[in-house]
């Protein structure tokens, strides 16, 4: 395991060097290495233990460095951890740390990781993403108050350079998790000196990543400079990195077109065809599925045939081409493209294939007739629920017409304010609701385990014992082949029952000036600027 990883490391390093070298040969770096990126919102926090959102992660991943870091293809590569050893049963990780420094000059140690992880789990911290650390032995118990002694949690610094981690179950994607904000180290001295607001004061905001924050003008902009104490500072080419917080999409576009920002990621949808023609927008893969969820406890959607009929009576190709317009991929399955399968280099989705045909009106009509609603006769009025957003409305309007035309259904659409909508979905006050799911890590499990019976995020009220068993198998086995087979089988059961109706796989539209180079855009929505640079223009 270690050897192959090392080899991969060397290879990827060589590749990275090669491509960087070639790029430099073709284009010269500009004198002024400043990049302005529109983060679009004020981060709710930049305390890595407490943050939950993508915008916060885009800040934290560029000012902190964890045990691992995701590379351009979203695979975890060594960062503060120089190397690691995994026990046979897959439950024990021993990380060996490299020499690294905090921005204030202190050394980064294994104790910093232990402190941070225990802090995130401490009930008094009340971190929302504490459950991201439930993989650790006794993590959940400590966080829920069943155990009072933090020392029983499965993370221990053996010495300053060695961190031992014990998990409750073998977790194939644990090394991806250690690249996640919740798992970042913290400088205990600074955090305790600064109290709850340590990260808002520039003297206690001590970090260990590629950049460090020098000014935070709330709701306005965040200014960072290269961190000279970063262990890999040689790789960092930008001198200055500025995040703006411009929320309005058309304002972002205007600022981009007039040169106030170099990079943005929320272009207005209706403008996409033009921007695409002008080659200033690109669409990068995004690990998410846009879907409609049926309330399977209420007629007519308690009948899987009706659910399937409605799923097949949608023209997804037309929706992605004419309505959403960002190069999304029609989804005839649940798990999106871009995640690994058992065999190295294969894609879970590609090997799993598609489960039904897009826009298959004939079969849809047949299924609906079989369910007792020939040509939609006898169907109760159908209501689509969506949360207030222009794009959701546009998609709902298109689907409303398709169901009317193809199935003869009487469809209305209703929008609700975000939290009212969430509450109604949780309470089951809906027939069909718009929904989306974004992966947390690059592994199919992040999608598969959402649909387990009574799972908090499974609001369809669909439950299937066989599905749950397969998920359990996939979660506990150390055998990769067995694990992936279980997940493929589970997905098949899901698509057979169709409690959710997949529509498309997300993409990330990015407005990027041609002189902005080597920004690593993750499928998880993160932007990593540690290798980015500005070409002469």
């Amino acid at each position: 395991m270690r050897r192959s990883l090392l080899l991969a490391m060397v290879l990827s390093a060589a590749l990275a060097l090669g491509s960087a070298g070639m790029a430099f040969a073709a284009e010269k770096p500009a004198k002024n290495q400043t990049l302005t990126f529109n983060l679009s919102v004020e981060p709710q926090t930049i305390d890595p233990n407490k943050s939950t959102g993508v915008p916060e992660a885009i800040v934290e991943l560029n000012i902190f460095d964890g045990l691992t870091r995701l590379d351009k293809t979203d695979r975890p590569v060594p960062a503060i951890a120089r190397s690691w050893k995994i026990s046979k049963d897959g439950k024990e990780y021993t990380f060996h740390l490299r020499d690294a420094k905090w921005s204030n000059g202190d050394p980064v140690t294994a104790y910093d990781f232990e402190y941070s992880w225990k802090r995130a789990l401490n009930p008094a911290t009340a971190a929302e993403y504490a459950y991201y650390l439930y993989y650790l032995k006794n993590g959940e118990e400590y966080n829920t108050g069943k155990i009072k002694d933090a020392n029983e949690v499965g993370v221990k610094a053996i010495d300053a350079k060695t961190l031992k981690v014990t998990l409750t179950a073998p977790t194939a994607y644990f090394l991806s998790l250690t690249a996640f904000p919740t798992y970042m180290p913290l400088n205990k001295k600074a955090v305790e000196a600064g109290g709850d607001t340590w990260y808002t004061k520039m003297d206690t905001l001590v970090t260990n990543g590629p950049f460090k924050i020098v000014r935070w003008s709330h709701q306005d902009k965040l200014e960072m400079v290269k961190n000279p104490n970063y262990w890999d500072a040689r790789k960092v080419k930008l001198d200055k990195l500025v995040y703006t917080m411009v929320e309005a999409e058309s304002t972002e576009l205007t600022m981009f077109e007039t040169g106030q920002i170099d990079l943005g990621h929320f272009p207005p949808r209706p403008e996409l065809p033009r921007l695409r023609e002008q080659k200033i927008v690109k669409f990068t893969p995004y690990l998410g599925t846009y879907f409609y969820e049926f309330n399977t406890s209420k007629a007519p959607f308690d009948n899987p045939k009706v659910r399937k009929a409605f799923a097949m009576a949608i023209n997804r190709r037309q929706i992605v081409e004419k309505v959403t317009k960002a190069g999304e991929v029609p989804a005839m399955a649940w798990v999106p493209y871009g995640m690994p399968d058992a065999k190295a280099g294969t894609d879970f989705r590609k090997s799993g294939g598609e489960f039904f045909k897009d826009n298959d009106v004939a079969t849809a009509k047949k299924l609906l007739a079989e369910a007792g609603y020939p040509d939609g006769k006898g169907l109760p009025p159908i209501e689509i629920l969506y949360n207030t957003l222009e794009m959701h409305k546009a998609i709902a309007e298109a689907i409303q017409e398709m169901w009317k035309k193809n199935l003869g259904a009487n469809v209305t659409i209703t929008n609700q304010e975000w939290k009212v909508y969430l509450q109604n979905r949780t309470d089951g006050n809906f027939q069909v609701a718009r929904a989306g799911w974004i992966g947390d890590y690059v592994h199919p499990m992040t999608f598969i385990d959402m649909m387990i019976s009574n799972g908090g995020n499974n609001r369809s009220r669909w439950a299937d014992k066989k599905y749950d068993d397969l998920v359990e198998v996939a979660k506990t086995t150390t055998n990769a082949a067995k694990q992936y087979k279980a997940m493929h089988d589970a997905e098949k059961i899901l698509m057979d029952a169709m409690p959710i109706l997949p529509i498309y796989f997300y993409t990330q539209p990015v407005l990027q000036k041609s002189y902005v180079k080597d920004v690593a855009i993750s499928m998880l929505g993160f932007f990593d600027f540690s290798s980015a640079w500005i070409a002469q223009h």
């Binding site: 009340a126 411009v246 975000w418």
Partner: protein
């Protein structure tokens, strides 16, 4: 003098009552609507939610939360924001209000300085071209709301002509477009109000008499017409000043201005309870204060107005 003091005292009592009713009603309403600050798309495990509720004292009975909040409100301690971890609502207001207030004052000044003269000229040149032009402009100002105005201004002056920066806050150039967007509606309103009141006053007998007696045109207008025409303008200025100085949601959002206006709406969407209450109460204080000032201004403009009823 005694009457005046009595009046002030009575007014103060009523202001405090208003604030109490506003805070209580807002408190009730925000707890009545579905969803809380930690209702999230990815459902939180129960234990995690419990930890958070303990931390923010959301597990206390509602009346207890209400009593605590009112107690803190008396000390102007508005509590921590639920959305922005580690931020207090006092901080948010202290930081963003000056920006909104500055922009709002520019807009009010512009609206007054352009709107009132435009209205006066319109009235004096009734049905001539300056009048038609001004009233056409005012109709546009009425029917185009600020969010469309803001987008159009940005489109023309930032994108097409490149005369001004598109958005953000800091330089004088960046203040131009948002000021125009904010000012367009009150400007149109002032122009029409002044024009209409002036025409009315100019038709009154005493103005005709004054003119007939040989008082020069300008003096007549200044002494009587403008003074009377200014009444509705002053009335409108009260609530306008309060709302424009606390910022406009759409204009601040479109021009990416770090003001208070955005929080009025986003705090509700986020169910950021403390922020909703704090900002609403703050706004209410400004509103009652400015309306008080308006009432005092009435008495100066029109000495016949009396608030203190002399016993007959």
């Amino acid at each position: 003098m005694i009457f005046l003091l009595q009046y002030f005292a009575k007014r103060l009592v009523s202001i405090i009552l208003v604030l109490w009713v506003v805070a209580s009603a807002t408190f009730l309403l925000m707890h009545a609507i579905p969803g809380g600050p930690f209702t999230t798309e990815k459902v939180l495990p129960e234990a995690v939610l419990k930890n958070i509720e303990v931390r923010y004292k959301l597990n206390d009975p509602l009346w207890q939360q209400y009593v605590d909040y009112m107690g803190n409100l008396l000390r102007w301690d508005l509590g921590p924001s639920f959305k922005y971890e580690g931020e207090t609502v006092n901080n948010i207001i202290n930081r963003s209000f000056p920006i909104s207030a500055q922009l709002g004052l520019y807009a009010i000044l512009l609206a007054l300085l352009v709107g009132i003269p435009a209205g006066i000229i319109s009235a004096l040149k009734q049905n001539e071209w300056p009048d038609n032009l001004a009233m056409f402009g005012a109709t546009i100002g009425f029917s185009v709301p600020s969010f469309i105005m803001a987008s159009l201004l940005m489109f023309v002056f930032a994108l097409k002509l490149r005369w001004l920066p598109a958005a953000m806050w800091g330089t004088p150039q960046q203040a131009v477009l948002p000021t125009l967007a904010l000012a367009s509606l009150p400007m149109a309103f002032f122009a029409r109000l002044v024009r209409s009141s002036m025409l009315e006053v100019m038709n009154q007998d005493y103005i005709r008499t004054a003119k007939a007696k040989g008082l020069s045109g300008n003096t007549v207008i200044w002494r009587h017409a403008v003074k009377n025409a200014i009444m509705p303008v002053v009335t409108y200025l009260g609530p306008l000043t309060a709302s424009i100085m606390t910022g406009s949601f759409v204009v601040e959002r479109i021009f990416a201005i770090p003001g208070l206006g955005q929080h009025f709406v986003t705090s509700i969407y986020n169910r950021d309870y403390t922020a909703i209450l704090g900002i609403t109460v703050f706004y209410s204080i400004l509103l009652v204060l400015f309306n008080f000032i308006v009432d005092i201004a009435y008495a100066f403009i029109d000495p016949r107005i009396k608030y203190v009823e002399e016993k007959e």
